[in-house]
Symmetry: D2
Subunit: 362 residues, 4 copies
């Protein structure tokens, strides 16, 4: 039904790739929160296209205009609205989409869902461009969360079969998190960057694309946030993360690997450390019964390879009801994983904001 | 905040393991739906404990009493309520839980969340017993969905490292689905049952437990159900699935494996078959842009090993603020995966009901 | 769609007048709140039928059984469920309702809404009996609110043309509120009780019924609770109050009379009193821009006369599609206003709970 | 918490009177609905200020820019966003508001609610200007509803003590509704216009203001829309209507007058007319048990006099914590009732859209 999300904080994302503009309304923010717009724009720049050969050469300023909810640099407490104008659109690139759906895109499902009336230019509302408003909102929420001691950081966990190192699930270095959160190609072990860039470049040259995974950590969470059953931390995070295009899976803590473990191996024993209850493993990713344990929240998401590839593909012609071939032109990222990193961080920031507000902690 | 879920259909799960009773209110059901209570009880029996050595010996009749919303075997259209009385409770088994939190349980997080006032006997509201009302609601929804041609079926995808065969993602045999949906140990390839039972029994004898994965399929979905961004099929399903205790991950279609693929490999090409648009692969698990493609919805969940093991474990004593040991007594499943199969099917049935109602199709 | 209400606190009311039972699930309550059950039952007794000739002679114990959410007299913090068994039902009294809808009842609209499948015995889910769970929840919330210094009290403002005195909108005597909140026939000016009882008795003897109004006050509200536009105090209160059967209007402060005033007369000037900002009038009923001003919240509701009267009335026969006459038998209140007083108080208590939780004050 | 509303259709209103812009996101609209923008702008013009001496001389073009959700004149089915730029703002008029709250405005309550960070210029988010987005959304919904045979129309029911005629509750002339819906001073009995204008002009000259009531009718509703308890038609309508500034009361059908009636007088008898079940009175305003009866929905709202009057008033100085006087300068309507008519129609249109979608009828 909807591109709105949240109960305590309500976001409403709008826009289509080649329409007049995209943006977001964020309702429920606390008043009096100072927002550093330069810092926020750094996050938007991390997501923005056109930086290098791993991404689409489409360039956009993506500078959000604040229409409401901010005064003199502080949140006013009512709905905060940001609009990003669409410029540099080349709609003619998409002239054939109405009849020939691109494989693994939402062209066909969107066409049926909206009875052919949806704006299909550039993917319309399904475009990855719609993650820009999410980054806006998330980067804003992160500034509020940081004042509560909460940090959020993600890295490229893998591109194809090339893996980065993982987060230390028991304790994550604060400087590492800061470094990752400013990087356009976020890696814990930066020595894998060359191989990752090579595989992406190889895919680009082959008119192909490649998928990957992202690992994200949230540190500084108080114990006791979240609720059993359907308002648990995992539920809330996953319900927003699957709003990021191309995400096909999410796992918390040891995730799918925990399914192969025995209880004696998987269980996270408790101990006192500096008078605080901590666990000596963190296979549960900081969440037990839907509620934070105080350990780092850690999760990974699976990102599928960019569906838009230039290679000729099999598809159908909906107008003639027959099979046909499709060669996608236009500008596309051979790998969206690097640009998805700040998007995942941002989506989670909104989720954590929702959870902290639900716990009356913001 | 809450154990309520849904917008078009609203469920509210209540109860604690050793309280007076547990149950569910289902609001928003269509009126005039005939409910076959015997068929529904079969699903509840699949989940119920005490059947064999893979499960806890706690026996309960688990017969739900319908308090409202049904008349002469048909839904009346107003809130349908089922209550299951708690009997056969042995609360003394849990006498030490208030001070020594069980590793990987919600004892500690629940204690902090509820300031020590939550009912901790038998896990209270966090108990796996609370999945009984979910199975009640899901089994009821499935009967309505089946009249629309929608089938839901799951199987034990793996126990530890032992794997069942997977569903054919392009077309799933209807009789197979029927067989799985009646089984207490659901397997596609029944030849792995012995090895799976052996590893479970081995864990039981070692006072240990084991995890696993479950694969679930939904067939017969119309094209065009679900919405972009936050009301997508993946969002809706994951937001309820993480309400099932012990789930630590979910992946749709090729899931985490898609992250290793190239676009040319991952993309699902279209073709016409019997005048219908279908895909020749189904790496997207029947969902594109959050919207059903008409292909089977396929997903897998990771289930952690039962946290309650009898082996001595490290924990803390919250009263003395010191480290201590814990030996859990009481009755526990060495592996909850077999019993979780109908729970996953049921949770998804509720999610599909929500989605179909959102599309005005129910 | 639904008999569920609330975002911060979620109630789900269930049941039908002549089914197995009615009740309520209250999700989102804070943990550790001591509930005095005797005090709670006093409120339920005020609403219960069979006390005197102003009400239906149907007698019911209406003793709620707590299924979940309470332990040793304290809320556990998870869904609190109360069930009230239906006893003393005489369903044969309603044998003709399926074909001859009772004027001004929901028989016809419910029949169409639920395609004839709703339980029409005794009004089913539309029965005034469904206000018992609301009183349960409201009486419980009031105990929590009272600890925050918030009092809620209502009185019979009028029966037909006979009027009670109104609340002093600037300051309401705490002892008066206590007296009203324990009364079964709540009046500020008790000298009008005889005339009110006389007109009710006259209606009873004439097989007729009579309407009235109820005035309700909430004192002790902090300044700044509620939000502009759709989450304002008036929106939240009215959205639950219209859930009480027979309510046809609501007005806040001077209400409809303010429409006849000039601004100079209507405006509430500010002054300092005991170092607090107060207003010297309260035509806005304690609410400005949807937000509490700290002055008493005051509102009145219009209650229609009991629709069930024994006089012969014109109706239709839905089976023969022709006009016909109807004489309602069964037991009915000639005036529901006295019994509606605790229902209004309770519904508002739930609304105030929602608002206080939204302001992080509970 | 929020300026968002709705479940099936979700609106999110944003903006502050003297900020960059105001607007609305409407999520959940059906796709493929043709929108006549000229017709929509006529409704916005009815609400716009500066037309004559009954209203504030502030002139604004109020032309909404559509950012998303429309293509070639049709709804695309995803979030539709309209932005109205703020121009012609004279913020210096409001220089003293931070310290001296205007009586009966939200200055004080908003100041406390938002800890002084809200944008108080021109009333900020509390400004009547925020009704422009509501009219936009409502006028859009009305076009969709009209295709389903549903008409919505309101008139000035009274200004001070001067009353217009009321709607015939049994059948409302379609041409009358059309005329009212195009009028800037909507009256059934146009002979009262002069007296009404006179009293408004008199108030203006006396630096005073005057209140009034608005009556609204919805015709063409199918039988069976709405639900018992909290999703009833009255609940849904009132929850949005109290979002219109200055509304202090709402009554349905005979409203507060029904409280003075006997059941024999108040009840609405059924009869067959042209093979349809109708009632021969309509004291219930087309709603029984929260559900439409097929008779016209009729309700009235009380509008308080404009709080901003130029007469000197008593208030406090929050900075010095002492009593003081205030003379409001700036441009204000001596009576907002005429301009509120299209706002009420629009708010109800959104409510009816929500209800029709909930009934799967749109």
């Amino acid at each position: 039904m909807s591109s709105a999300w949240g109960n305590n904080i309500k976001i409403s994302v709008f826009g289509e790739s080649h329409g007049n503009g995209i943006g977001i309304v964020i309702d429920g923010l606390p008043s009096g929160e100072k927002i550093d717009m330069d810092k926020l724009l750094i996050q938007m720049a991390r997501r923005a296209p056109g930086k290098d050969k791993t991404a689409t050469p489409r360039k956009e300023s993506d500078t959000p205009e604040i229409l409401s909810g901010m005064l003199n640099g502080f949140t006013t407490g009512v709905a905060l609205t940001a609009v990003i104008r669409n410029t540099n659109t080349r709609s003619q690139d998409y002239g054939n989409l109405l009849t020939k759906p691109r494989p693994s895109h939402a062209d066909y499902t969107g066409f049926v869902r909206y009875k052919g009336f949806n704006d299909q230019r550039g993917g319309g509302h399904f475009s990855g461009r719609l993650t820009a408003p999410i980054v806006f909102a998330g980067a804003l929420c992160r500034q509020i969360l940081e004042r509560k001691g909460i940090k959020i950081s993600a890295h490229i966990n893998s591109i194809g079969n090339i893996k980065d190192d993982g987060f230390n699930p028991l304790e994550i270095d604060s400087e590492l998190m800061d470094r990752l959160s400013l990087s356009a190609f976020s890696l814990i072990n930066q020595s894998v960057e060359v191989s990752m860039r090579n595989i992406i470049e190889e895919c680009r040259l082959n008119q192909d694309s490649i998928g990957g995974t992202i690992e994200c950590a949230v540190t500084g969470m108080p114990v006791g946030v979240g609720s059993p059953m359907f308002d648990g931390v995992e539920n809330v995070i996953s319900s927003i993360i699957f709003g990021v295009p191309a995400v096909k899976g999410i796992e918390f803590g040891a995730g799918f690997d925990i399914s192969k473990m025995k209880g004696s191996e998987a269980n996270d024993p408790y101990t006192y450390k500096d008078n605080r209850v901590v666990t000596t493993k963190n296979n549960n990713g900081g969440i037990l019964g839907g509620i934070t344990s105080g350990m780092p929240i850690i999760f990974r998401v699976a990102i599928k390879p960019t569906a838009s590839i230039s290679q000729e593909q099999d598809t159908v012609d909906l107008s003639t009801k027959s099979d046909t071939k499709l060669s996608i032109v236009g500008r596309h990222d051979p790998c969206i994983v690097p640009r998805a990193v700040p998007v995942i961080e941002s989506a989670v920031a909104i989720a954590i904001m929702e959870l902290m507000m639900g716990a009356n902690l913001i």
